[in-house]
Symmetry: D2
Subunit: 294 residues, 4 copies
């Protein structure tokens, strides 16, 4: 969205059948709704229909709450399995970012926010190390240091740390929880609590090189491209629905340290794209696959 | 389209206003039309609306002619400037290909047709040289050799040659005239006669390196990527609406001959993509820009 | 190599130490050897040195056999583990191609050979199906149909078929055996016999999606890019040294059949690049990784 | 360079002839020089030879000054046109950055420096607007605001502003002057004074869309990819030797504002790559082309 004009974004998924588009577009046309952007998709394998519609807020004679109330009737006519939401671009999106020591994704996100490119309200940054406190606070954003016990020591400490993180995160009611190279594996209960809004950046072209040290794995296998994957976090490690991926070329002159360096440029743009699409309600999840209306 | 099922493809462009989608989708829903694929776009600068819809032929109670007749009424209600067509995937698309000596694009197209990937009826290949007669005929396709006078000699000969080409081409009523590295500049009257169906592959990333020897120009300028552009032919050289472009990396070790070689791989895939989208009615031209619903 | 001038290509690998380049370049300079292209690399992890040098044949006062004889002395001084060869671009490279039903890689390779882009002598094409006999013979190349038993039937028949293939292949003393979407897994003894010269194209971005139906696996996982990998064949399935890889973007609108179609364009260029580099002695294998001096 | 070990970097260009590599490598081997990385290239058109060699500092029995003194003799033997330098990775590289209002390139460079990825000493940032003073100073770097007169008003003011910039820049004796989306055209005398060390990022895939508002030009032409170019600044606008380029895909759904946004991600990585290669002495300029040994 290049303009600041306020819009309502309708996203909907339901079993496909004839007449869905007619029903939705007729509903909107009836009230003079001006559709600025519309996308439709049907998944043939599951016969599932998806749509996303951006409507100019000032073209409708009612507000978002009333739109939700009225659209609920339309959605109900499309069957009980219909999954839909209406969001309002006039309400700022809240984001909390989790980090460890590596700063390239955080620097990149903060730069995008500061320059006005990414229109989100970063409520807090939480780190299990304190390295990135300075740059976070220089941007006027609170930084919380939640230390984790080292490997093998004090397993209860880890649970306590995650509880502390959860309290901070949940207090902000975020639209997105961004794991910006956060090096701790979320426990299943957090994966469940933040389902559909926790975005991770994994530093490989998944499903290659799941788990730890993917660039080292890539080096050992001798691949000719390295990549990064932005995906929703689920209880199964690095197996959640993929939002975006990209790759960059490497060759025999690149050590695994060079791959780490080159990969950073991919990680940060892939994460930034994924986050943008998520907060603009462009990503519809169905099973373990995503429809991305970008 | 991965399935062979028959479809009607509706493409339409008109000034944007509220209710267009409702009107079209309601028309189709009324007759039980099953929309298999639908795409919409509004160009903000010109306030022009575009759509393309694929409808299963067996879901409608009438044939393509009747669909055209009935849809004409809908289109008329959208204003006098509305531009639309209905095509039928059950009717094979006819293609004529123009070539010179370089065979990489022709080899590639013939291979795609022979393997069933590209569902077109190649009616004829015409060359101003005879080098590619053999491979053409090995595929069971007629080859016509139409020699051109050399530079500086016999200007009337060129007109005569183009007249001969025009007669051959027009006798096949082609849906696409493909200039697959045909090294002659079409005269304005042929550009006009074949407007919107003559596709050229230019061996540069336009608008860089218009005209002759683009790879040599690219080498001299020291660019780090070379590209190719598939565009509709218009009277202004290499300035027609762009359908598709792509690039490949080169470096200082590449001579201009190496750039020629590397560029071929881009030329052939860019042309093949452009031709596929054209014959599937995925390309809508507006002014000098294209909307490509791929 | 864009010119047809004859060259000797020296490739060498040995433990790294000071003075290797001085030794080789002094040897060549002593006889007036004109180095047209030279590349060096040291792998830090294994401390292994690699070089490839192209020398104009007409700059040396002796032939390839004499060069080999004299260079053997230089190589011996670099230690007993030195691995080297001298090849002569004046001797045509022999290739045998194995195929099944899918023709896109074969069409592409034959087109490159016919147009003079790929300077190899294709001695034979062998198919476990006969579908590609026509196009092969249209290019004047012998086609051998070696049928395989179906799954579950007659296991001895498979051994016999591979024996027949081995006899045909070995009778041509090929520099490369190209598995151009050959759908049978080579038995270990053939992997061993053709080690370092059997090139496969796998239709995924390895190590993702090893084995059968990689595009279907890719579709199910919901990846946003699909790829192809050219690698040397080893006894472990899809695990040999990687020569080249590339990817192409897909999205939610692509069915697995669409991924198959888009992937073909990547498969054929990746295989063609890998084969070119192999026959030009640009690929040096060390352990399970490759150095590619392209 | 992934390790912090100190190295001497020798770069050399001279007319090609037999024996150059032997001469240099023998010189280094004589003193036990351990070549960590070496690259060679010969430009066929101009018959010019290029090399870059990284030698471990601790492998030589003398310091950089002595190496320069001794290597001068070797270079002299290669002819009077030989162009060479020896640099020392132990001496930090100094950089001055020029900006206007757009911050994406500056944010990116500062993040790379802060995270230790880019090993340079940013001495100062100079802006013709003050927008980026805050982030610069948050990184502990001096920011100089040098206002420029508006278009049409007070032409002497522009000269004065450039004089002021020149004094600031030259006082730091920088190895690189980075125009990170600086929107003023350097006067010819500054182009001359900073020849070979002023790097610009142009927001198009040059030579397409030279001059102002390249994304708007790209939108109007309807291209399917937009790009960015890092080049040395010369007196002819946007025509200097190209160091690096890259592109990103756009389509009909992208307004020119969207192209601006997508293009930023390419601009910043292309500039960062170009700057890295420049300060590591990987870029050798010859005429208007570059050899980049990356």
């Amino acid at each position: 969205m290049s303009s600041a004009e306020r819009r309502y974004v309708i996203t909907l998924g339901c079993p496909d059948r004839s007449g869905i588009v007619a029903k939705i577009s007729t509903f909107l046309a009836e009230f003079g709704g001006w559709i600025v952007e519309a996308a439709y998709h049907t998944d043939r394998d599951t016969n599932w229909f998806f749509t996303r519609q951006e409507v100019r807020a000032d073209s409708l004679p009612f507000d978002a709450a009333e739109l939700r109330s009225r659209f609920a009737t339309v959605a109900a006519e499309l069957g009980s399995r219909t999954d839909w939401r209406v969001s309002d671009t006039g309400v700022p999106r809240r984001v909390v970012i989790l980090v460890s020591k590596a700063g390239h994704c955080l620097y990149d996100l903060l730069g995008r926010v500061a320059s006005g490119e990414l229109d989100v309200d970063v409520r807090a940054v939480i780190g299990n190390h304190a390295d990135l406190a300075g740059i976070t606070r220089a941007h006027g954003i609170p930084f919380h240091h939640v230390p984790f016990p080292g490997p093998g020591e004090n397993p209860e400490g880890k649970d306590a740390a995650f509880n502390q993180i959860r309290q901070i995160v949940d207090s902000h009611h975020p639209d997105a929880v961004v794991l910006a190279r956060f090096m701790q594996v979320l426990p299943p209960e957090l994966c469940a609590a933040w389902a559909g809004k926790a975005l991770n950046i994994h530093h490989s072209f998944l499903p290659s090189f799941i788990g730890a040290r993917p660039y080292h794995q890539a080096y050992t296998r001798g691949v000719k491209l390295v990549g990064a994957t932005c995906h929703y976090v689920t209880a199964e490690l690095d197996a959640g629905p993929i939002v975006e991926q990209d790759v960059i070329r490497v060759d025999h002159t690149d050590s695994s340290a060079d791959m780490v360096r080159k990969g950073r440029d991919i990680e940060k743009v892939v994460l930034a794209r994924g986050l943008r699409w998520h907060i603009e309600d462009r990503v519809l999840v169905h099973g373990n696959r995503t429809v991305v209306f970008h």
